[in-house]
């Protein structure tokens, strides 16, 4: 018997270039088999050795979070109305601070599919009207008391009822009651079926509080950090909660505040005073990219800018004219020129690729003067069209100007009336026949469409009503089966794409700046700082 043993080669034994090649391959999705081939080329013939190398490399790439360090992050708005009461949250700073101190029943990942957090399992009854959440055991609040169903029921009930102060009340207005249904179980009783409820509960306002909390200056949560300091409009500081039930809370301290002025914020970021900066303006992107140790953290989202044409009055009541305008929109130019590539092409319907229910089967509409000419002729429209525009978001005015330019080429006179953004939502929006709009992303396609496209919605900005659409919208709330669900959502998106007065050139990304050693921020598309999910998993590489 020979005591010859093949030399065990590990990932660490490779030289720098080999390591680099391997990591690049794995990053591109190379499988164990591919790595085996690569190793063969390097002279490593033992399958076991290659497998070991593969595992080592994969670990090195995934980079296990390191503990320790202090992180300073700044977004734009903060002020005396900063609050620790989740139902009153209004800003990214509030949302992110909430993530630091509190937990939710579920957590949303980059795909917006709800994952268990404080609820370890959840299921809906067959009629879609009762949602049951099994709570995780052994979760404690920062004061040492344990979290239970009473806390959850109390927290969730704050969002219900006509006198509720909750900013998110309308997202759950179909819930009639929350009740304790077991020693570690709660149930939500719904008026009408809604399969989106868990996704919605993963958003900012539904953080779990301790029952009967009244003094929100000294509140406790179940989050990975406990409150060390909270001064509204000054700063918040969190330190790790030693009894946190899950993975996360890696830093020694997180400090968070707002710097309203974009130039000052950029200065602070480039100078190293802060390591994470929210809302990098498109002008500042090249500056951040060229700075040493500074990176752009860009997350494609469903947020968008659009021109809303009212379908209940001239000129938008003529669908051919609206189609002509849709074909005149130079989407590429909006995305490349104004958003500096930090966005995606819009397809005249609100449900962009960031939504789980996005329909990719609808062909992308592009600038097409010929088709525009055809529809314009068919519409029989003559005379000028006026679009009211204000700087409500990056690109909101430019989209109208681009449209004006292309329209002129085919002999259509589009006039852009620029007004101030102060008071715009009250004075112009939902009133002018054509005006520019900016929308944030909502957690689900159904929420977004119920808010601004349902025939009787308060914010149905194009004043279009399609019975088929409304019917699908309500029915789809009860459908979980992927096949039929996809069909329904595609049908709805197609109706908006073809019939509504929504001229939508671009979805914009959330663009933040981060220092190169800041890791572990998930790309959740709902807001800045990875959908405000940053605090849980963020860590600092040395």
């Amino acid at each position: 018997m020979s005591n010859f043993k093949p030399k065990q080669v590990s990932f660490d034994d490779l030289n720098a270039i080999e390591k680099d090649n391997l990591l690049t391959a794995i990053r591109r999705g190379a499988s164990r088999r591919d790595v085996l081939k690569m190793m063969g080329a390097l002279g490593v013939t033992s399958a076991a050795a290659a497998t070991g190398i593969f595992a080592g490399a994969k670990d090195a790439w995934a980079q296990t979070p390191k503990r320790g360090g202090r992180l300073v992050i700044a977004h734009d708005q903060h002020g005396p109305n900063d609050t620790l009461d989740p139902q009153l949250y209004t800003s990214t700073i509030d949302y992110t601070r909430g993530r630091m101190f509190y937990g939710s029943l579920v957590r949303l990942g980059p795909d917006l599919v709800p994952q268990p957090e404080l609820a370890e399992a959840f299921e809906v009854s067959s009629d879609g009207k009762v949602w049951t959440f099994d709570l995780k055991k052994g979760v404690t609040f920062h004061d040492g008391s344990s979290m239970g169903p009473d806390d959850v029921v109390w927290t969730m009930s704050r969002h219900l009822g006509k006198e509720s102060k909750s900013k998110a009340g309308s997202l759950v207005d179909y819930v009639t009651e929350w009740k304790k249904s077991g020693p570690n179980q709660v149930q939500a009783i719904l008026e009408s079926p809604n399969v989106d409820l868990p996704t919605i509960l993963g958003t900012f306002h539904f953080k779990i509080l301790k029952k009967d909390t009244t003094d929100f200056s000294k509140t406790v949560g179940t989050g990975p950090y406990r409150i060390k300091e909270f001064k509204p409009g000054v700063r918040s500081i969190g330190t790790p909660f030693e009894d946190y039930w899950g993975e996360g809370g890696y830093l020694d301290e997180i400090e968070m505040f707002g710097i309203g002025d974009p130039v000052a914020r950029l200065n602070a970021f480039l100078n190293g005073d802060i390591q994470v900066m929210g809302n990098v303006t498109s002008k500042a992107i090249p500056q951040v990219e060229s700075a040493d140790g500074r990176e752009i953290f860009s997350v494609p989202s469903g947020a968008y800018i659009n021109i809303a044409a009212r379908r209940d009055m001239a000129p938008g009541n003529n669908n051919d004219l609206v189609l002509a305008l849709k074909h005149l929109m130079d989407r590429e130019r909006v995305v490349k020129g104004v958003l500096k590539g930090q966005g995606g092409l819009g397809n005249d319907q609100p449900i962009g690729p960031a939504y789980a229910d996005h329909c990719s089967d609808i062909p992308q509409r592009a600038l097409d003067p010929e088709k525009a000419k055809f529809h314009l002729k068919k519409s029989g429209h003559t005379g000028p069209i006026e679009i009211v525009a204000a700087e409500v978001a990056p690109g909101s005015v430019e989209q109208a100007l681009f449209l004006q330019r292309e329209a002129k080429k085919i002999g259509l006179d589009v006039q852009v009336k620029k007004v101030t953004s102060d008071g715009y939502w009250g004075a112009v929006w939902l009133k002018a026949p054509l005006c520019v709009v900016s929308w944030n992303m909502r957690p689900t396609a159904n929420v977004m469409m119920s808010l601004a496209f349902k025939g009787d919605a308060k914010w149905n900005e194009t004043f279009y009503k399609s019975d088929k659409f409304d019917d699908l919208l309500v029915k789809s709330r009860a459908v979980t089966d992927p096949g039929p669900r996809k069909q329904m959502y595609c049908d709805m998106q197609e109706i908006i794409h073809n019939e509504y007065g929504c001229i939508l050139p671009a979805h914009r990304n959330y663009v933040d700046g981060i220092a190169s050693n800041v890791k572990g921020i998930p790309k959740v598309p709902l807001n800045a700082f990875g959908g405000a999910e940053l605090p849980v998993g963020v860590w600092l590489d040395s």
């Binding site: 005396p80 109305n81 900063d82 609050t83 409009g233 000054v234 200065n267």
Partner: protein, 316 residues
């Protein structure tokens, strides 16, 4: 003299009451209220009414006014309408920043600029006067944010001496550390007030220099330095002190742009945020605080000019 000072104090108190009425009415004229702003798009008639009742905004205006005056006089400054935090907490978190910055700015900036102004007045038209005039006129005309940007560029990025914005608190820091902490805002504010003070000091001293008794002194052969230090300066104190008082009041209540640019929270920014959120209680308290500071500074300025001027000290 004492009766005069007492009268000034009396006028000051009457002014404060007048201002309190103006501030109260002013806040109520603003469109929308705290309840509406806090509820935002979720506002419905029912929850608005409930929220207004909770905040005490449903009471008639005069009832609100008198309960505010009563509470304030008994030392209760009320709770912020925008965040349910006591107003005193909000102010406590910020007043130190404002106090440190304005005090240090005043201690450095005021004597320095008065001195430079007097020196400029000593040799009007000379090269020194021209240089000082050129620099101060430039600084007066430069907008605050431009000056601030320039300072950041030089001290934060070029010399890497300090951070671009003020980060962190002042707790447990020594005087030198605080100086460094607020280096850029103090520097910017020194330049801003110096520009004005130098111009005013120079003008006030030169004004006195053209009066008959100074001509008399020149004719009798008193050296120029002595004329300025013994005769002109004392007579120029009145206007100079008034300008100093105005500048100090500005340092307490008007440095919004500097606070925003260097991202530290002070009282001026708090006032702006109060207006944005329609936080009546906060606006009222800060308004009265600023008014109080202003009246006290003006009182001191008046007393200083009375003391320095025999004609006012012994009125006929």
């Amino acid at each position: 003299m004492w009766s005069m000072i007492l009268r000034r104090i009396g006028i000051g108190i009457v002014t404060m009451f007048a201002v309190s009425v103006i501030i109260f009415c002013g806040t109520r004229i603003l469109p929308g209220d705290a309840a509406q702003i806090r509820l935002g798009q979720e506002a419905t008639e029912t929850n608005l009414a409930a929220f207004r009742k909770e905040l005490g905004l449903d009471r008639p205006a005069h009832v609100q006014y008198f309960s505010w005056v009563k509470d304030t006089l008994s030392g209760d400054l009320g709770v912020s309408l925008a965040s349910d935090v006591p107003v005193t907490d909000l102010i406590r978190d910020r007043y130190k920043n404002t106090l440190y910055v304005s005090a240090v700015t005043a201690v450095i900036g005021v004597p320095l600029s008065v001195l430079l102004g007097i020196l400029a007045a000593m040799f009007p038209g000379g090269i020194y006067d021209r240089v000082v005039t050129f620099i101060s006129v430039t600084l007066v005309s430069a907008p605050e944010f431009f000056l601030a940007t320039l300072l950041v560029l030089i001290f934060a990025f070029y010399f890497n001496f300090t951070s671009a914005v003020v980060v962190g608190g002042v707790e447990g820091k020594t005087f030198l550390e605080i100086l460094r902490h607020f280096f850029l805002p103090i520097m910017a504010l020194c330049m801003i007030i110096a520009a004005q003070l130098i111009r005013m000091t120079r003008a006030a001293v030169l004004n006195v220099m053209s009066s008959p008794y100074v001509e008399m002194a020149i004719l009798k052969g008193v050296p120029r330095k002595r004329i300025i230090m013994r005769h002109a300066l004392f007579n120029a104190i009145g206007p100079i002190v008034n300008v100093i008082a105005l500048n100090l009041a500005y340092l307490i209540s008007g440095v919004v742009i500097i606070e925003v640019f260097f991202a530290y929270s002070g009282l001026a920014t708090l006032m702006v945020q109060g207006v944005q959120t329609r936080d009546y209680n906060l606006i009222q308290v800060l308004g009265m605080l600023f008014c109080c500071v202003y009246i006290i500074l003006m009182l001191i300025a008046d007393i200083a000019s009375i003391v320095s001027n025999p004609r006012l000290r012994h009125p006929r």
